[in-house]
């Protein structure tokens, strides 16, 4: 029993700091720190947990600029076995379709050496917020597609099956999927571990392999901006929230403040009583 998982991790800007330059109307990129997409830490945890339980290997894969190596270094520190960075100008400007094209080509290459049982992604990236890459990989690789996992039930590698709970708006469902499978996990799927000292020391000696478009044998026309059907036509700042009316319970009384606020909510569309 052993399982080889590929975890997809993305380096993203700290989105809480992203702003639009009011002068130029373009994105301010300078000085914004990069972080690992927080949901991807749960993907890494899921893969490590399965490996620790059942044996096998975890390969982390990221597509991004050279500095995305930091992200892979960080996950090596958690105990990931191998790290691959897809980095090439040809990948730049990719939407989710071009991203899955490149990642799928890399996963096929990884699989030639060591067959991949699971591809694990975060539920979404905090910059793109699409959640489209996981399902796209499932389709391109012909793997079972199980998204929004809120709990991993068990992996039976003998039978080639994985069972997981999937979060829906109306409830939860337990799915059984044939391996190989592509999964996306939510933040409630597990608790992220702390990097242990031995893992951190081992990580320092591990390389981050950097692959170009040529290394994965991908047609350039299907990568990056060229391979992306979607185009950003315009960006703009959302209407800013302003400080509204603040009442003090001490100045009047909690009851008076509550009554005033209820008046305001009714002005803003709250309807109550039998007429509602």
């Amino acid at each position: 029993m052993s399982v080889h998982s590929v975890v997809c991790v993305k380096q993203v800007p700290d989105t809480t700091q992203v702003r639009i330059d009011p002068e130029t109307g373009s994105l301010i990129r300078q000085g914004i720190p990069s972080v690992i997409n927080p949901f991807d830490l749960h993907a890494v945890e899921a893969a490590l947990h399965l490996r620790d339980e059942q044996g096998g290997r975890v390969t982390a894969l990221s597509m991004g600029p050279p500095q995305a190596e930091e992200t892979l270094r960080k996950v090596l520190g958690f105990g990931v076995d191998r790290a691959v960075l897809l980095s090439d100008r040809a990948f730049a400007g990719a939407d989710t379709l071009a991203t899955t094209f490149a990642l799928a080509a890399a996963i096929r290459k990884i699989s030639e050496e060591d067959p991949v049982d699971l591809v694990i992604c975060g539920k979404q990236s905090i910059d793109g917020d699409t959640g489209q890459v996981g399902p796209g990989l499932a389709r391109r690789l012909g793997m079972s597609q199980v998204t929004y996992i809120c709990g991993l039930e068990d992996l039976d590698s003998e039978a080639g099956l994985i069972r997981a709970w999937r979060q829906l708006e109306s409830g939860r469902e337990l799915l059984e999927a044939k391996l190989p499978a592509a999964l996306t996990v939510t933040e409630v799927c597990n608790r992220i571990r702390y990097a242990s000292l031995p893992d951190l020391i081992a990580a320092a000696g591990k390389p981050v392999e950097v692959w170009s478009a040529g290394d994965i044998g991908a047609e350039r026309s299907r990568l990056g901006l060229k391979g992306s059907p979607t185009r950003v036509n315009k960006i703009f700042a959302p209407p800013a929230r302003k400080r509204g009316e603040i009442f003090s319970a001490a100045d009047s009384s909690p009851a008076a403040a509550a009554a005033t606020v209820m008046d305001r909510l009714q002005d803003r569309g709250l309807k109550m009583g039998r007429s509602a």
């Binding site: 699409t130 796209g136 389709r139 708006e169 109306s170 960006i235 319970a249 569309g269 109550m272």
Partner: protein, 375 residues
């Protein structure tokens, strides 16, 4: 998959021939359903499809993917909400929902009837299905749109959505690719008025699908009422570290009940172990867009705001007048939450005339007054 690639070529050359203003295909809505119950967002989208189709001079259509059991009933409903055509794909493998057979059936329908636009709810299922189909068809897909319009010049679909945690808005187009696909955030558009007398055409399609699928559902647990989903809730009452103890959250449950809402939390409260992580609102939790968001004992850290700043109305209750949450709140009460929340509950009870009286938001008024307030 050579088949799908050919398919794409055919479609994009058709687009090329007619020139840039060629998106003359119909506007489809995929009806999401669990058994005979359609997700509300499906009918919200039907209204949008009607509007977009009118701008394009094409027809609004609905797609019902299922085992055929409830399809007729759902089709009738879709027609009442404005579908001129309903495509029913019926196959045992299409129920319950799993992505693989659903995406094959939808891609099959697309190959046969060439829609110009496909809209799905930005729900877990809608996103799952849309991503799979867009990959198979190698077409553009825009996630989680909050506004849609037809460009009067190019006739392309302009899809606007929040990105970077809501800090920017982006308008996306997919020139030269058909169909143009979008998932749309639930609760953004009003439900169109149903017209029971409306008529429409029903087209039945029998996809060829394998009897044994790679994913099967073993169990389904509908959400328990006390853990109703934050997604799609009109009112969310969230508590933070200011709640001090797990059991104080019952106060918020009472307030949420009076307001017809559900309880959420800050990460502060989740990390303290008072609330399940499934309730967490924010950058690393859920992004919500209720009509009313009540933040109780929450300071308003930027990571929390990332998940709730798109609410129509924010009400903050905090005893610290300098708490940053007040900077983005429409209304605030500075005071001890253990006095203010009970006072609010009493006030709401007083205003509801008699037992059983409900409470709802008029979304149209809420939206209008939000725009006015933002000026």
């Amino acid at each position: 998959m050579a088949g799908t690639r050919n398919n794409k070529k055919k479609e994009s050359s058709a687009a090329g021939k007619a020139g840039a203003d060629s998106n003359t295909g119909d506007v489809w809505v995929v009806i999401e359903h669990e058994g005979d119950l359609a997700a509300r967002v499906s009918w919200e989208l039907m209204g949008e499809a009607r509007r977009l189709a009118a701008d394009l001079g094409t027809q609004p259509a609905a797609v019902v993917l299922g085992d055929g059991e409830n399809s007729g009933q759902l089709a009738e409903q879709a027609i009442s909400y404005g579908a001129a055509i309903v495509y029913i794909a019926a196959h045992a493998a299409l129920s319950p929902f799993t992505a693989e057979p659903q995406s094959r059936a939808l891609a099959g329908l697309v190959g046969k009837y060439s829609p110009g636009i496909i809209l799905l709810g930005a729900t877990t299922r809608g996103r799952d299905l849309a991503s799979a189909v867009a990959t198979d068809l190698e077409t553009g897909l825009t996630a989680d749109c909050t506004s849609l319009e037809i460009d009067p010049g190019t006739k392309l679909l302009r899809q606007t959505r929040p990105a970077f945690g809501g800090n920017i808005m982006a308008t996306i187009i997919s020139p030269g690719h058909l169909p143009q696909m979008a998932t749309v955030r639930p609760g953004v558009f009003p439900i169109a008025k149903a017209d029971a007398g409306a008529t429409g055409k029903v087209v039945t399609y029998r996809p060829r699908l394998a009897a044994v699928q790679p994913v099967r559902r073993l169990h389904y647990l509908p959400e328990l009422e006390d853990e109703a989903s934050l997604q799609g809730a009109d009112v969310i009452v969230s508590g933070g570290r200011g709640m001090h103890q797990a059991r104080n959250f019952s106060l918020l449950e009472d307030l949420a009940r009076e307001l017809g809402g559900v309880v959420g939390a800050s990460r502060g409260a989740v990390d303290a172990g008072w609330v399940s992580a499934r309730r967490q609102v924010g950058q690393t939790g859920q992004t919500v867009r209720p009509v009313l968001y009540v933040a109780v004992g929450i300071s308003g850290a930027i990571q929390h705001l990332a998940g709730m700043q798109q609410a129509d109305i924010v009400l903050a209750i905090n005893n610290d007048p300098t708490a940053p949450i007040f900077n983005i709140a429409d209304f605030g009460i500075v005071g001890d939450l253990f006095e203010v929340v009970p006072a609010l509950i009493t006030e709401i009870k007083k205003r509801k005339d008699g037992a059983g009286a409900g409470i709802v938001f008029d979304r149209v008024v809420a939206e209008q007054t939000r725009k006015e307030a933002a000026k």
